[in-house]
Amino acid sequence: MTDPENLAIARCEHCHGRFLPHPGPCPRCGSTDLVPGVIPPTAVVLAATELLAPAAGWATPHRLTIAEGAESVRILAIGRTSGLAPGQVVVVRTENGLYYADAAAPPSAPGPPKLASPSRRH
């Protein structure tokens, strides 16, 4: 069973293509020799946009991004963070069959240096 933190993908045993799961044969070579796999949920933004004239039923602005994850798998995702920019790392999650991208939390900043002994008030 797929780890809920990872993203399900399909691997083509014929052309070695990797892509998000979808009905039918390999979109690149037409082979049906596909095996399931997973990749980590982090991806790098290639492009992002804010749609200010979205399709009916979507709130304004509607954010979309194309991000590239491991094994060069590209993902179209709805952006839940504003201001996504090329090169930014995002975490991609699936909900109800759709992909959503959130900006990855930055690495924890180093805290203040620990004192060798508790401070004393002077």
């Binding site: 992002a48 946009t49 749609l51």
Partner: protein, 380 residues
């Protein structure tokens, strides 16, 4: 068999009161009149979505009926926003086969009967289902392509503005264009944001309109030298390239192989600029400039009417308007008019010998390239 364009017809693009059949017939009549009413034995009709957009089906029979071609054969061809080009390619193939002598090709679209939101939904039918499910629209995907292009090539977004200002300047000389007034860079940048970085004036307008050409077995200034078409993955993320349309590159290669020419032997082009970034990419994909050089070409005047490779002297889709089914055929008609000396106020300063038309279906998933030029007869 050599085939040439022997007559053309172009209607006015914009919000029209006429229905789809009337628009097709208006352009068709002009082309037939230019032919001296010689008999036509094949009618090929192109439109993307006459049913959903205009509640019109059975268009071949209706157009044939109105034009008095009811004894002829006919086909309707669809290739999304390249339907007009597809119809032309189909007609040329059928005339070349020898089965038909003379084909009237008409292509158009009626888009202003419905609210914009419903039109956008119909056009999104050419996208991949998963893209539509994520709320993507054609402008949204074009914006993602634009963003990737600008980032990858470190190109300044001002190149997009230049595409629009050049198109609108050319359209001001086109009596059939939807937009007859030039715009400034400031006006482009201050237009309403649609899908960043694209603003309203970076995007083509919903429009009504039609064009027509007659093709027959003959030689002439607008001979059909080469045709090429190709498809690509419908889903954008399935393509290895986001900054180039492989379908155009392959279609170009096929067209140039048939024509036995190179891009250096082509004098100008009508390129599919439904969105400003597409013009940059199209210019690269047909081989006129290298990868990533499209932005500089538009900025330095290389693509202006008096530049080394004029692009869209008729105003392009951005200036002319985008009745989607018509765009691919009106490009071919305008190339033919330049070659036949019939371009009027749009005539290039230096009379061209060969021209190229490039049309995009969907978001680059079914593209066509057409090369016209002198195929043996003296210019009329």
């Amino acid at each position: 068999m050599k085939v040439a364009v022997s007559s053309t017809g172009v209607g006015r693009f914009g919000k029209r009161k006429e229905g789809l059949v009337e628009l097709l017939c208006e352009a068709g009549r002009e082309a037939l009149d230019g032919l001296g009413r010689k008999p036509v034995d094949l009618l090929v009709v192109g439109h993307m979505a006459g049913g959903p957009l205009a509640h019109v089906e059975n268009t071949v029979a209706k157009v044939a009926d109105r034009l008095g071609l009811d004894a002829g054969a006919g086909f309707r061809i669809e290739a999304a926003s390249a339907s007009g080009a597809a119809a032309f390619h189909a007609a040329v193939g059928m005339v070349r086969s020898g089965r038909y002598d003379r084909a009237l090709v008409v292509a158009g679209e009626k888009m202003t009967d419905l609210p914009n939101a419903e039109v956008t939904k119909v056009l999104a039918g050419s996208l991949a289902p998963t893209e539509e499910a994520h709320g993507a629209t054609m402008p949204a995907l074009a914006a993602l392509v634009a963003g990737r292009y600008l980032d990858r090539y470190r190109a300044d977004a001002s190149a997009l503005d230049q595409v629009t200002t050049q198109a609108r300047a050319a359209a001001a000389r086109n009596p059939n264009a939807q937009f007859r007034t030039p715009v400034t860079v400031e006006e482009v940048r201050s237009s309403r944001a649609i899908a960043l970085p694209l603003r309203l004036l970076h995007c083509s307008a919903i429009s009504d309109g039609a064009a027509a050409v007659v093709v027959e077995g003959t030689t002439g200034a607008a001979g059909v030298l080469g045709l090429g078409q190709a498809t690509d993955h419908v889903e954008l993320v399935e393509r290895p390239e986001l900054t180039s349309f492989r379908a155009t590159r392959v279609a170009s290669q096929r067209a140039f192989e048939e024509a036995r020419k190179t891009i250096q032997e082509v004098d100008f082009a009508e390129l599919h600029d439904a969105f400003a970034p597409f013009a940059l990419i199209d210019l690269e994909d047909v081989g006129a400039v290298g990868a990533g050089e499209g932005a500089a070409a538009f900025r330095n005047g290389s693509t202006s009417p008096d530049g080394p490779f004029p692009v869209n002297p008729s105003g392009g889709i951005l200036g002319r308007g985008h009745p989607v089914g018509a765009s691919g055929l009106v490009q071919i008609a305008e190339v033919a008019r330049q070659l036949r000396g019939e371009a009027g106020p749009m005539a290039l300063p230096k009379p061209p010998r060969r021209g190229l038309a490039q049309s995009i279906g969907g978001l680059g998933s079914h593209n066509f390239v057409t090369i016209l030029g002198n195929s043996g007869a003296a210019r009329p």
